[in-house]
Amino acid sequence: MESLIQNILNALQWGSFYSLIALGYCLVYGVLSLINFAHGDIFMAGAYFAFFGATFLLGKTGVIPPGMPGWAVLALTIPISMILTSALGVTLERVAYRPLRRKGAHKLYVVITALMCGLVLENGNLALFGASRKNFPTLVPQIVYSLGGVSVTNLKVAVILVAVLSFLFLHYVVGKTKIGMAMQAISYDRFAVPLMGIPTDTVIVFTFVLGSSFAALAGVLFAMSYPVLDPFMGALIGWKAFIAAVVGGIGSIRGAFAGGFLLGFVEIMVVAFFPSTFRDLIAFSILLLILSLKPTGLFGVARRTKI
């Protein structure tokens, strides 16, 4: 019983990362119908930006004197990482995706470009900073609460809370605000929207800012939970989060959130009952099964083709 609750807690934490990344996939897909394959690597970049930010602020680079308290470093690291990562995401959109969109290129070309941008980020990182793994510094001491055999850390609670709050925030932004409405409108008909006086490019940039900053948030939290960084950390988790988003019903915020947690649960539960090498095998098989039973995903809506 206790181990079950423990596993559920772990699954919630693990699923939170997937959810945060899946939300980014979902936002971009929802607005542009573009699978932004570079998103996993944007998450990786977020973790690295956080690493460089934190080591800088801790005074390890020697530019500023050491001695800043850990919580202050964290409080500064998060926005730094979010801003830099957003800048990266927007750069990709400006440099790689937008020119293609302007030319009216086929969607496939944009998807390939996204995939290649991801490779450039991964290998560029590897070439620049080398293969040695980076250890993320401890910023806030871990506190372990024990509740009747179940142990909870402050970090775990924070991760889950952040994921839930991010979801609520995005749900509000997309559903209730003016810019969110504009995002929905673009996804519905990208050609009619500019005629209504909505600045399409601004809305798309905003979408990338949102998606990237939540990936950065996931990156910071991931780096704090599993403090070893390597350039390919984003690739696998990114692919998986993408699949989670699809299983949830890509394009739906609720779907991405639920899909992320579903994948987290499946993975943790598989590891709890089977050898850990079976994790990918069983998790992906279950996801494929769900997709073949419900092709549009859990919350997705089928779009009808008109003839």
Binding site: L100, W239, I250, L291
Partner: protein, 341 residues
């Protein structure tokens, strides 16, 4: 007379390569580059069927390659290798010379059946979903192999060298070079015949307007299924060759990176063009060798090239055109009829 040009050129090319290998006119390094070039041609032209002609986005070509590689090498080692695995050998070593193509085909068949299993659920879903399903499938395949201890699990599988040496005992020629060459010719002939038939033109129709294709009597499900199986089956053959050329395989050889390589080749050459896909496989193999000193840097440069290509010539260097469309003289030389294109 003109009908003979292609076979003649092919046979003399093979003779030249074999002679050069036997006499050490090309050293071992260049021999292996040539063999990988051949394997890449098969990977690229077969993926081109799905990603180019059919216009889908399959990201899991390496998975099918893995199936072919494991099936053909495990079969070969079980049947012919002396000692160890499954208590063999069951068949004398000299038979390998004849059995090898069958082993490759068995690998290809297994990969095609896997392709069938992957393609079936994807028909219910819409376009982008094939990308996810193939990614997931390639993870499932890799993970399955890792969990089967009998074929070495994550440590990998070896013993293929015994088979190749059994062949050289019969007759000392560079056998693998011969097989790779034969498989490349086989692949190109099969694909060319497929896409030039009315049956295969159905694939282009599906890409351009699936609804119109279905309503104009094309059995779209069958077309998609056959094309996907053909593509994955050929990838399986490439996998089998890969295993025997290398002599050692492990699940780590068949990751997303391998699939990405195949995609890069397709998109460099131009979607839907056989000659484009084949030539870009040649160029890609050479490029990888030239950039080898850069180590990881090459995986920055190659994606950058593709990004630039997408910006300025997104249809690839050939873009749905064949070599014969670009050089009409070549078509006349080969005596091919106007395909109406």
């Amino acid at each position: 007379m003109r009908r003979c040009i292609v076979p003649l050129v092919t046979v003399s090319l093979l003779g030249l390569i074999l002679a050069a290998s036997v006499t050490d006119a090309i050293n071992f390094y260049w021999q292996s580059v040539l063999m990988f070039m051949g394997i890449n041609i098969i990977l690229s032209t077969s993926l081109n069927l799905v990603n180019g002609n059919m216009g889908e986005f399959s990201c899991g070509h390496a998975g099918f390659m893995a199936v072919g590689a494991y099936v053909s090498s495990v079969l070969a080692v079980a049947l012919f290798a002396p000692g160890g695995f499954l208590g063999g050998p069951y068949l004398p070593g000299y038979l390998t010379v004849f059995a090898f193509p069958l082993l490759l085909l068995a690998g290809g068949l297994a990969a095609a059946v896997t392709g069938l299993l992957v393609a079936l659920p994807s028909f219910k879903t819409r376009g982008d979903y094939l990308a996810i399903i193939t990614i997931a499938a390639s993870y499932i395949i890799k993970s399955t192999i890792e969990n089967v201890g009998a074929v070495g699990g994550a440590r990998g599988f070896m013993g293929m060298a015994k088979i190749t040496s059994a062949m050289t005992e019969v007759w000392n020629i560079p056998w693998m070079m011969l097989w790779v060459f034969a498989a490349v010719v086989f692949t190109l002939v099969v694909i060319r015949r497929y896409v030039s038939s009315t049956f295969g033109k159905g694939v282009d129709a599906v890409r351009q307007d699936e609804i119109a294709a279905e309503i104009m009597s094309v059995d779209t499900d069958r077309v998609k299924l056959v094309t996907f199986m053909l593509s994955s089956g050929l990838a399986g053959i490439a996998g089998g060759l890969f295993a025997f050329v290398l002599g050692y395989i492990n699940p780590g050889s068949f990751t997303i990176i391998k699939s990405t390589e195949a995609m890069v080749m397709v998109y460099l050459g131009g979607m839907g063009s056989i000659s484009g896909a084949a030539l870009s496989a040649v160029a890609f193999t050479l490029l990888m060798e030239v950039l080898r000193p850069m180590q990881v840097g090459k995986w920055v440069i190659i994606p950058m090239m593709l990004i630039l290509l997408m910006q300025f010539r997104p249809e690839g260097f050939f873009g749905h055109r064949e070599l014969t469309d670009i050089f009409p003289g070549l078509r006349r030389l080969l005596g091919r009829e106007e395909s109406g294109k």
